[in-house]
């Protein structure tokens, strides 16, 4: 029964696969100092940032690509990647949505992201990243009144250089890891967000990333700073067009929460996963880390990972401030030949720090799903607590689920809990649903959504609906 389902799944095409015809301002493939200088020049960056990039580049040259993850892929030719591409400006930069390249607008429409509608109806400010340069930012005025800065990273470098300089690389240092060093050298754009003291951001901040240029690696950089007593909920959602070539993606997200501040970061990742034979798809090597710098601060990561052929991603929290809280809620789905090695690190430094990890892995087809987690309680973290739960759902005889939890406790007062389950959708469950009139596909979708419920309820409402749909689509057969 399950096999039939997988057969059907194998027939499914990537629904968001299309390319749009936009003039690109692209440089030749390859990476050297000149390329980095060119990127920096194109972006009119200050000298210190160029130096920062070059330092990262030299670190990167000394580093080796990590091999410890449970993922397998042919060697990446880093000199074959194009490190910069931007939509060609037609005259001065757009001041409103109306001035945006109609092709770009159409692309977003196809994705169901009409900026106008977003702006008008949902109260979400969208900083749309098409390839490497932000093309539209909305709701700025409203946010400005509250002193909230939400803009593209490039703009932040121009308009708020002091803030960028103060926080850039403080959570993820340039030489943190191979992919972080690469990103630090060549990042082209991303988002910047600053919430001033005591301000509760009244809307969900949202960025839609989209990989669009052929052979263009994506190197976004996101930096979010929540000042004392502030709150922000940030949404990141992605789809990508159909491609045969593998596309390299190495993003960095840094979060800083000061005293009593709270950051909620939600991701839906639906990049092209490759075809049913494992051809193509995005390589997604992401470094996401949050620093709970202040007392009573809180950082929450929620992710729904359904795309990419390879996912290497461990959104983590450093719980430095006393009583700070870190959370990680994750659903990772691997179908066909997708591989995901994902999880989190919770580093407890401050007293009475708490962390929660809820990980749900779903494997179908030949998908390989790995949870990799590290919980570290330092000697300074008196009274620290952690709760971890890792559940795996297997949907075929050819898929795999792997769990690597690491626990390192250096303080005797720490309380640790770890639970893990592995299950299959049973024929009994399917028959029960079918006997009540529910089709097999709907039954599977329902059971999988039930499995993921603990994570979905952490997502903002509209995102949760999208996530449920996405899971159903990712698992559905030839319907539609």
């Amino acid at each position: 029964m399950a096999n039939e389902l997988i057969q059907e799944l194998a027939q499914q095409d990537y629904k968001w696969g299309f390319t749009s015809d936009i003039h690109e301002d692209t440089i030749a493939p390859g990476l050297n100092e000149d390329v980095i200088r060119l990127i920096s020049r194109k972006k009119k960056e200050p000298e210190w940032l160029l130096e920062w990039r070059l330092k990262a580049f030299h670190e990167w040259l000394q580093m080796k690509e990590p091999t410890w993850a449970n993922i397998h892929y042919p060697p990446i030719d880093y000199q074959g990647v194009r490190y910069y591409s931007a939509p060609k400006p037609k005259g001065p930069a757009p001041k409103s949505l109306d001035e945006i390249d109609p092709e770009v607008r159409k692309t977003f429409d196809k994705l169901g992201i009409s900026l106008q509608e977003q702006e008008r109806l949902s109260g979400i400010a969208v900083d749309a990243v098409l390839d490497s340069v932000s093309v539209a930012t909305t709701f700025k005025g409203k946010l400005k009144e509250l002193g909230i800065i939400f803009c593209s990273f490039s703009e932040a470098v121009q308009e708020h250089p002091d803030l960028v300089k103060q926080y850039l690389g403080t959570v993820v240092p340039q030489k943190d890891n191979f992919f972080a060093a690469l990103n630090s050298a060549v990042f082209t754009d991303g988002s910047f967000c600053y919430i001033p003291k005591g301000v509760r951001c009244p809307m969900e901040l949202s960025t839609y990333f989209r990989i669009n240029a052929k052979d263009t690696g994506q190197f976004e950089r996101t930096l979010i700073i929540a000042e004392e007593g502030s709150y922000v909920s940030y949404l990141e959602g992605c789809t990508a067009p159909m491609r045969d070539e593998n596309q390299l993606h190495a993003a960095i997200v840094e979060l800083v929460a000061l005293d009593n501040a709270q950051i909620k970061y939600s991701t839906i990742q639906n990049w092209y996963p490759g075809d049913k034979n494992g051809k193509g798809g995005i390589y997604n090597f992401v470094t996401k880390r949050g620093l709970c710098k202040g007392v009573n601060s809180k950082i929450s990561w929620t992710q729904v990972e359904t795309g990419s052929s390879i996912t290497w991603k461990y959104p983590s929290c450093i719980l430095k401030g006393d009583n700070s809280v870190g959370e990680f809620y994750s659903v990772a789905l691997t179908n066909h030949y997708q591989q995901a090695d994902t999880g989190t690190k919770m580093i407890h430094v401050g007293k009475n720090t708490r962390s929660t990890i809820i990980s749900k892995g779903i494997s179908a087809g030949h998908g390989q799903n790995t949870y990799r987690g590290a919980v570290k309680i330092l000697a300074s973290a008196t009274g620290a607590r952690n709760y971890s739960q890792c559940d795996s759902l297997l949907m075929s005889d050819t898929c795999g689920a792997h769990t690597f939890p690491a626990i390192d406790v250096q303080d005797p007062t720490a309380q640790m809990e770890h639970e893990a389950t592995t299950s299959k959708i049973s024929d009994d469950q399917l028959f029960y649903c079918k006997q009540r009139g529910i089709s097999q596909e709907d039954a599977i979708s329902m059971i999988v959504n039930g499995f993921c419920k603990q994570v979905f309820k952490e997502l903002p409402m509209e995102f949760a609906v999208e996530a449920q749909k996405l899971l159903s689509v990712s698992l559905e057969g030839s319907v539609g």
Binding site: Q429, R436, G437, I438, I447
Partner: protein, 253 residues
């Protein structure tokens, strides 16, 4: 409504049903009794289309059509309901959501308008009263952490919501205490109507004290060996199944 003709079915290579003949008319309540391993549950599973059972001979006509050609969900849409002996748990999905999905799937298949959340809630609250189910159970995950009795009540609730034409109840009374048995029976009786038939599979006569059958059939080694009225159940209770063990297959009822 239902015509079973010379039905033979196997699990793997093992023949379980060896020539069942049974006709059920609208409005009738038929009880199937018999010892362990006689094929009672197999009959329910074959009629509802569960995988793993192979029909090797015979026909089943439901409302004049070949029932065996239909997928399980199509049988459900056509009005066949199976009350499970062991109701299945579905973590993370609330009873409410599950039943609404089921009801609307069935309504869709029948070309009827789907119920919106408000109308559905009204409906299910009303139905829950019949089986004396606390409304809080409706927002709990399907059967998860339910007691045996709660699970069976939940089955009857689902039957009440789906309003089937033919309800097959597979040992709905097993594992119930007297109170629960009465509640479940009340739920079944509330649904008895001239437009609905029941096939009640049971081990013991006690359920039949509350749900009075029109016919009782005794199944033994894959065949119906005796059929009669409700008094047959009492006779069985006194004499035991051994009484019929050597009986020949009954003729077509």
């Amino acid at each position: 409504m239902l015509e079973i003709k010379n039905l033979h079915a196997s699990v793997g290579d093992k023949p379980i049903l060896k020539g069942i003949h049974l006709t059920i008319k609208t409005g009738e309540v038929h009880a199937i009794m018999g010892p362990n391993g006689s094929g009672k549950s197999t009959l329910g599973n074959v009629l509802s289309g569960r995988e793993g059972y192979t029909v090797t001979e015979g026909d089943v006509l439901y409302e004049g059509k070949n029932l065996l050609a239909l997928a399980p969900e199509a049988r459900a849409a056509a009005g066949i309901f199976l009350g499970f002996q062991y109701p299945v748990e579905i973590p993370g999905i609330t009873n409410n959501y599950f039943m609404k999905t089921a009801l609307n799937a069935v309504r869709r298949a029948r070309g009827e308008k789907e119920l919106d959340a408000i109308d559905f809630l009204k409906l299910i609250k009303e139905k829950a009263k019949v089986v004396e189910m606390d409304p809080s159970m409706l927002s709990r995950s399907v059967n998860e952490g339910f007691s045996g009795g709660e699970k069976k009540r939940n089955e009857i609730l689902q039957m009440g919501v789906l309003e089937p034409k033919l309800a097959i109840l597979d040992e709905t009374d097993s594992g119930l205490d007297i109170d629960a048995l009465q509640i479940v029976s009340k739920g079944i009786n509330a649904l008895r109507s001239p437009g609905r038939a029941f096939l009640v599979i049971t081990h013991y006569q006690r359920l039949l004290n509350y749900v009075q059958p029109d016919y009782v059939h005794v199944l033994s080694a894959g065949r119906i060996v005796k059929s009669g009225g409700k008094e047959l159940a009492h006779e069985l209770e006194q004499k035991g199944y051994g009484w019929l063990e050597n009986a020949k297959p009954a003729t077509v009822v």
